[in-house]
Symmetry: C2
Subunit: 165 residues, 2 copies
């Protein structure tokens, strides 16, 4: 299904809740309430995000979490990276050496190119984009464009090649 994990999904919900509110600091209980995610799970997610310094925590009474940077400067790629580690659509994209097929595989380089293309997409989208109306994101030409420009490579016509709903 090519899916981010549920915890990663939660992290985007939690972070966008933080980005949407003007408040500076949030406890995990507050965010649990606001997102309908259980408090222990919210806590787990925020701890992970803290390790990569996407959020900053303060302990004790009146403690909580706050965003480490402006939502404009936090990309979706970094969020995924913090929760799941480096984006690698195939095994060889991240581990490169452990694959048994290595040497007789003719496509690992191309998977690397594909992986970087997806990284680029996710890197281009910020937390601020995530909380903006969907129209804004659709209008980001670099995200949704499908240019029919001249090039050497064979291309699949997108119309006939997909029946995803």
């Amino acid at each position: 299904m090519l899916r981010i994990s549920k915890l990663t999904d939660y992290s985007t919900v939690i972070l966008s809740e933080m980005a949407r509110q003007k408040s500076q600091s949030f406890t995990s209980s507050e965010l649990a309430l606001a997102t309908s995610i259980s408090q222990p799970t919210v806590s787990k997610v925020l701890k992970l995000l803290g390790k990569s310094s996407l959020v900053i925590s303060s302990r004790g009474v009146n403690g909580g979490y706050r965003l480490a940077d402006n939502p404009e400067h936090l990309s979706v790629a970094r969020i995924i990276n913090a929760m799941e580690g480096p984006i690698g659509i195939t095994e060889c994209c991240t581990t490169s050496d452990t694959c048994e097929q290595y040497g007789q595989c003719h496509i690992s380089d191309n998977w690397g190119v594909i992986n970087r293309a997806i990284e680029n997409t996710l890197n281009t989208i910020s937390l601020a984009d995530l909380v903006s109306p969907a129209e804004s994101l659709v209008n980001m030409a670099s995200i949704t464009q499908q240019k029919p420009e001249a090039q050497t490579s064979h291309r699949t016509e997108s119309k006939e090649s997909i029946e995803l709903t």
Copy 2:
């Protein structure tokens, strides 16, 4: 990690082996030998691909599998779709109704946009591209471009926002 499954990975290796050879028909044993993937696994993959009519099988002596269409007309998105079902980077991209957060979630629409962007990328790349030298793919402007064009939305500068290797 945002990864395709191992079986899906195998499927791309197997299909590209079929695309590279001029031969028309391949038995699962031949492909197992050529790819260093075990024969039962190759067989399992080809059966799955057959269900979505990406390959055509013929039984009996001299039977085997052949590509259902030219490599130029088979997109990576369709391969993933055949092996794993619809591409959905989040749960709400595919199932839409079962999510508990539905109603109070403010970002599902935007995840839909992101999902379509990734679909577009994977849809643009064909099996023929996968077996071509990596340079060809890099030169596909629609895949790797990162346009800094004017737009309304906030953008993350790709340089500072990512430390993936």
